[in-house]
Symmetry: C2
């Protein structure tokens, strides 16, 4: 068992992972099948149990297999195609495509929280919130309208910032370490104001991402990101 582990280009645990991945995606094992135990795989590959364990643990986390203590490892039901959807800072996203980003600040003001907003921020109705509306352009074309409410307790100098150079997302992540976020994605029509700002018709469908982020258990900000359906889509992929 004392192999001179070359630790070459491909680690041993990856060989095990690939062996199993291959077996699953080729149909050699199908959903529900019992896979070889750690001991068996360790024998076949001449590896210690810890190394095999790592391979199987990672496959579990990737959702490809399911493990039951005392029973064994099974091929997972792949009834869910899950993948990492990344909601990112617009600036980064545009920059990564090699395009030019421009932000136009349409509004930057203090406002008083409605009862609903106050509840979301854990403040009392009428408390002061910061409110900004910014249109983001990619190579001169409006692709996102960002309508945001900010908790002044988390970012007291929000109104004094220059959003032509930093995005609110970027700034807020710096002043308030992100601990949790919730979002929804839906398809709706833009408001009159949004349609005007984005240069689209009132009846053009939009992809709307609503997001609330928390830090230290406090609500930092809520944002509504409206994207013209004709100019924006989310994409992702899944790999077995």
């Amino acid at each position: 068992m004392s192999r001179k582990v070359p630790a070459g280009p491909e680690p041993q645990y990856l060989k095990v992972k690939n062996f199993l991945r291959e077996g699953i995606s080729s149909g050699r094992w199908v959903a529900g099948d019992l896979l070889p135990s750690e001991a068996e795989l360790g024998g076949q590959f001449e590896l210690s149990r810890m190394t095999v364990n790592r391979a199987l643990r990672e496959l579990t986390q990737e959702g490809l297999v399911e493990r039951v203590q005392g029973v064994g490892t099974f091929v997972a039901q792949l009834h869910r195609i899950s993948s990492t959807l990344t909601v990112r800072d617009v600036h980064d996203e545009i920059a990564e495509r090699g395009h030019q980003h421009e932000a136009r600040v349409q509004l930057l003001e203090k406002t008083k929280a409605t009862a609903e907003q106050a509840a979301e921020f854990g403040l009392r109705a009428g408390a002061v919130l910061f409110h900004s509306v910014i249109v983001h352009l990619e190579n001169g074309v409006a692709i996102q309208c960002e309508d945001r409410l900010v908790n002044p307790a988390c970012a007291p100098d929000y109104l004094a910032l220059d959003f032509a150079s930093t995005t609110p997302t970027n700034y807020l992540l710096q002043v308030a370490p992100l601990s949790e976020a919730r979002y929804t994605i839906e398809s709706t029509l833009p408001s009159d104001a949004e349609a005007k700002l984005l240069g689209i018709a009132r009846r053009d469908p939009c992809l709307v991402v609503k997001r609330t982020t928390y830090s230290h258990g406090q609500t930092v900000t809520t944002v509504r990101l409206t994207h013209p359906g004709s100019r924006y889509l989310l994409q992702g992929s899944f790999q077995a």
Copy 2:
């Protein structure tokens, strides 16, 4: 160092993970900061390096920290809020909400591939494809129109199936082990046919998921899932 590791309710590596997570979400360490090395953490917690390594490895995979060999472990830039978006079988999704699912088969036919479709399936133009259109209802309300093309080579008996009892997604996952999938999510208007089938107006925005799945390097199926924007949304969350 020979502690009687109680392996109690909380594993040791989780203690390390939680310690670091807490430090990051509380702002004790901010993006870019250098975290204690494996050796340091091992000393503080009286753990072996392997155990600490596991904690840090998992945090890396969760996107919370970044590691550079020979340099150290740093708090990651949380410029991306990523979470697992799960695109699931409609039936499961509805059943999980405790609601009733009904599938109405609107169309089930052979068709000849257009040049574009043929290219997607790796077949020649005019090759036979199976085509189905099914409307899915949740408690009697149409929430999804599923327009699907299927590669006959992967599911020869597709046309003979009873989709009132099994969904195409479910069936196809069984006959063709999923190896890869790609999808996009966008906001558009429904076609005339879709609007009619979903019982909505032609100008009601829809959330459309397009998905192509592969098995053994073959294209198994392409599907367009159209959801009335007023009745469907995707949601997710992110936890630091």
